[in-house]
C-alpha cells in the first residue's frame, strides 16, 4: 500500500520536474536571446514565459497562438507604429502583463485594438498600460478571462473616430477589476456579454459613456467610479444587473446623466452615490428595479422616471441639494416611493418614529412645466415658481397624485 503511495508521489514529482523543464524563460532585449518580440513568440512553445526587457519594440500584427506568458519588465514598450493591431491572442490561457502598449493602428473597417482576445478562454491581461490606441483591450467571443489593473489613456477627440477602452463582445464570465480608463469613446463597453464582474474600476473623461452595457445579462458592477464622462453610464436592453456601491460623479452637461437605464428589468441599484450629475438616474422602460440606499446630491434632477417604468421600488435613498428631486412625464405613477430622506421635506414627526407623518410629494409643479417646455427652466429660482410649487404641494392638482412618499425619513441615514 505504502509502496503504491510512494510510487504515486514519485510519479507526481517526475511530472512536475518534467513540466518545469518544459517551461522555459525566454528573454527579449539587449541581454536576451532575441531582440524581436515576434521571433521570441514564434520560437516559444506552450507554457513558456517571455520576459521583455526595458526598451521600445516595434510590434505589429503579432499573433499569440500558444499558451504563453508575455511579461514586461519596467519600461518595456511595444509600439504599434499606427499600423495594425499590436497583439492578437488566439490561444487559451495566455497571460499578458506589465507591458506598455501604444500607437495601435486605426481602421474604420475592423476594430483594431492594442490587444485583442479572439475566441479564447482563461486568459489574463494584467497591469498593462495602453496609450494612444484605437480600441485598447478588445475581447471577442471569449470567456472566463481576467482584466485587471490596466491603465488605459486615450486622447479621443470625436466619437466617430475613436474606440472603446475595454470592449467585450459576446463574452461570458469576464472579470474586469481595478482598471483606469480615460479619454476613450466608451470607457468600458459590453455587448452580448453575460455574467461579468466589473469592480473597482475608474472611468473618467471619456467622450461618450464611462460604462456602456447592451444586451448583457446578469452582470454585476461594484465599487466603480464614473466621473466626468460625456454622458455618464448607460445600461440598455438588459436584465438582472447588479449595480452596487458605485460613484457617479460630475457627469454634467446638456443631455448628460449619471446613470441611464433603458429597458432594464429585474435589477438592483444599491448603495451608490450620485453627485453633481445633470440627471442622477434617467430611467426609461425600467421595470421591477430596486433602487435602494443610494445617495443623490447636487444633481440637476436626482431621478427622472418616465411614464413607461413599472413596479420599481425607490426606498431608503437620500436626496439632498438637487434642483429637482424627481421628475416624470406622466400623471400616473406605477412605482413605489417609500422611506426616503428628502431635504426639501417640511413635515413633522409627532409620534417620534423617525418617519414623517405627512406624505412628501417629490415631483414639483415646476418640474412638470419644464418637462413640457424646456425653455421654462429660465424661471428657475423665480418667486412665482416658488409660490406655485408651494401651492401645488398643499393641494396637488397637476402633479401625479400617487407619486408620493407616504413615510419619508426625518433624519439622514449615515452617509
Amino acid at each position: 500500500m505504502s509502496a503504491l503511495k510512494a510510487g504515486i508521489i514519485l510519479a507526481a514529482m517526475c511530472l512536475m520536474l518534467f513540466s518545469e523543464s518544459r517551461s522555459a524563460v525566454i528573454r527579449v532585449g539587449m541581454s536576451g536571446k532575441f531582440t524581436d518580440v515576434a521571433d521570441a513568440v514564434n520560437s516559444a512553445s506552450d507554457g513558456d514565459r517571455i520576459v521583455i526587457e526595458k526598451g521600445i519594440y516595434f510590434v505589429s500584427g503579432l499573433n499569440i497562438n500558444k499558451k504563453i506568458i508575455l511579461e514586461g519588465e519596467q519600461d518595456a514598450v511595444l509600439d504599434g507604429s499606427f499600423l495594425k493591431e499590436i497583439i492578437t491572442v488566439t490561444s487559451d490561457s495566455v497571460i499578458i502583463k506589465n507591458l506598455t502598449l501604444r500607437n495601435s493602428g486605426t481602421s474604420y473597417v475592423s476594430d483594431l485594438a492594442a490587444i485583442r482576445l479572439e475566441n479564447v478562454k482563461h486568459c489574463a491581461l494584467e497591469n498593462n498600460v495602453v496609450e494612444n490606441s484605437f480600441f485598447a483591450l478588445y475581447l471577442s467571443s471569449s470567456s472566463d478571462c481576467k482584466i485587471s489593473g490596466n491603465r488605459i489613456a486615450g486622447n479621443s477627440v470625436s466619437e466617430s473616430f475613436s474606440g472603446n477602452g475595454i470592449h467585450l463582445w459576446k463574452c461570458s464570465g469576464v472579470t474586469i477589476s481595478d482598471n483606469t480608463v480615460s479619454g476613450m469613446r466608451d470607457g468600458i463597453y459590453l455587448e452580448f456579454s453575460t455574467n461579468g464582474e466589473i469592480s473597482g474600476n475608474t472611468s473618467f473623461g471619456n467622450l461618450r459613456y464611462g460604462l456602456h452595457f447592451m444586451f448583457s445579462e446578469g452582470n454585476s458592477y461594484t465599487s466603480n467610479t464614473f466621473r466626468n464622462n460625456g454622458a455618464g453610464v448607460a445600461v440598455m436592453y438588459t436584465k438582472k444587473i447588479t449595480m452596487n456601491f458605485n460613484r457617479f460623479e460630475d457627469n454634467w452637461g446638456a443631455n448628460s446623466y449619471g446613470l441611464l437605464l433603458k429597458d432594464i428589468d429585474n435589477s438592483l441599484i444599491y448603495g451608490n452615490v450620485f453627485s453633481g450629475n445633470t440627471a442622477g438616474i434617467y430611467a426609461e422602460g425600467t421595470n421591477r428595479v430596486n433602487i435602494l440606499n443610494n445617495t443623490f446630491e447636487k444633481n440637476g434632477w436626482a431621478l427622472k422616471v418616465l411614464g413607461n417604468c413599472y413596479e420599481d421600488t425607490i426606498r431608503y435613498n437620500r436626496f439632498s441639494n438637487n434642483t429637482f428631486d424627481v421628475s416624470t412625464n406622466t400623471s400616473k405613477n406605477a412605482n413605489l416611493f417609500l422611506n426616503n430622506f428628502w431635504d426639501k421635506y417640511k413635515g413633522y414627526d409627532l409620534d417620534n418614529d423617525k418617519k414623517g407623518d405627512v406624505p412628501y410629494r417629490p415631483v414639483s409643479l415646476f418640474s412638470l412645466v419644464v418637462e413640457r417646455v424646456p425653455e421654462a427652466v429660465v424661471l428657475t429660482g423665480s418667486f412665482l415658481v416658488e409660490l406655485l410649487d408651494a401651492a401645488e404641494k398643499i393641494i396637488p392638482v397637476f402633479t401625479p397624485e400617487t407619486l408620493v412618499d407616504n413615510s419619508p425619513l426625518i433624519e439622514e441615514r449615515g452617509r
Partner: protein
C-alpha cells in the same frame, strides 16, 4: 448751492431718519441667519439671491416713496434757495440710491464676503446696486406723479408685483401656450426685458445651472455668457435705471408745490 451740498443735506437727512440703520440691521440679521443656519453654501446663496432680487426692490419702492412724501416740506424749503430743480432731484435720487446701497453692502454683501468671497457675491452686489437705483427711480416717479401717499404706495406695490411675479407669470403663460413653437429667442428677449429676470438669469447661469437647461441652456449660456449678451443686458439695465428716473425728474421739474 451746488449738487454736492444738496446731496449732503439729503443724505444726512436720510441717515437721520433711522430707516437705513433698521434696513441694514434687518438685512444683516437675515443674511447672517441664513448663512449660519443653512448647512450648504449653494442653498444659502440662493436664499440670499431671493432677498436681493425680491425683498430689496420692495423695500426700495416703499422707502423711496415714503421718504419723498415725507420730505415734501424740506424740498419746498430747498426750492426757495437759488438752486435748479434738476440738482435738487439728482441730489434726492442719488442720496436715496447711495444710502440704500450702503445699507445693502453693509447688511448683505459684507457678511457674504466674509463667509465666502467669490465672483457670485460680486455679481449679487452688482445686481443689488442696479435694482436699488432702478426701483428708486420708480419710487420717485410714482410719488411725484401721485400726491396721495396711500395711493402712491399702492401703485408701487403693484409695480413690484408686476416685475417680481406677474411678468414671470406671463412668461410661463407664453411657454405653455406656445409650447409647440421654437421659443429660445423669445425667451431670451423676454427675460432680458425685466431687470429682475436679467439679474436672476445672470446669477443662475453663473451657478452652472445651464446644464439643466439642456439645449435651451446652451443657447442661453451662449447669449448671456458672450460679449454681446452681456453688453445688451447691461444696456437694458441702464435703460431701466435712466428712463423712470428721467420721467421722474421731468415730473419733478414741472411739479406745482
Amino acid at each position: 448751492m451746488n449738487l454736492r451740498k444738496i446731496f449732503k443735506y439729503f443724505f444726512s437727512d436720510i441717515i437721520r431718519s433711522k430707516w437705513i440703520p433698521v434696513y441694514t440691521v434687518l438685512l444683516f440679521a437675515l443674511t447672517s441667519g441664513i448663512i449660519y443656519f443653512s448647512r450648504d453654501g449653494q442653498k444659502a446663496f440662493i436664499s440670499l439671491l431671493n432677498i436681493a432680487l425680491y425683498l430689496v426692490p420692495l423695500l426700495c419702492l416703499i422707502f423711496g416713496s415714503v421718504y419723498n412724501y415725507n420730505s415734501r416740506e424740506f424740498v419746498e424749503m430747498l426750492l426757495t434757495q437759488p438752486v435748479t430743480r434738476r440738482s435738487v432731484f439728482l441730489g434726492q435720487y442719488l442720496s436715496l440710491g447711495l444710502s440704500q446701497t450702503a445699507g445693502f453692502v453693509l447688511g448683505m454683501i459684507l457678511p457674504l464676503f466674509i463667509y465666502d468671497f467669490s465672483i457670485n457675491a460680486a455679481l449679487l452686489l452688482a445686481a443689488g446696486i442696479f435694482l436699488i437705483f432702478i426701483f428708486n427711480g420708480f419710487a420717485l416717479l410714482v410719488s411725484n406723479m401721485v400726491n396721495d401717499k396711500v395711493k402712491g404706495v399702492g401703485i408701487l406695490i403693484a409695480v413690484w408685483l408686476f416685475f417680481a411675479v406677474f411678468y414671470d407669470g406671463l412668461m410661463l403663460f407664453m411657454f405653455y401656450y406656445f409650447a409647440d413653437y421654437p421659443l429660445e429667442k423669445t425667451t431670451i428677449i423676454a427675460s432680458s426685458l425685466n431687470p429682475v429676470d436679467v439679474a436672476r438669469t445672470f446669477i443662475m447661469l453663473r451657478l452652472d445651472m445651464s446644464a439643466l437647461f439642456g439645449y435651451t441652456g446652451a443657447v442661453f449660456k451662449k447669449y448671456f455668457g458672450s460679449g454681446a449678451g452681456i453688453y445688451v443686458s447691461l444696456l437694458i439695465l441702464h435703460l431701466w435705471m435712466i428712463v423712470p428716473s428721467f420721467f421722474a425728474s421731468k415730473k419733478f421739474k414741472r411739479k406745482d408745490f
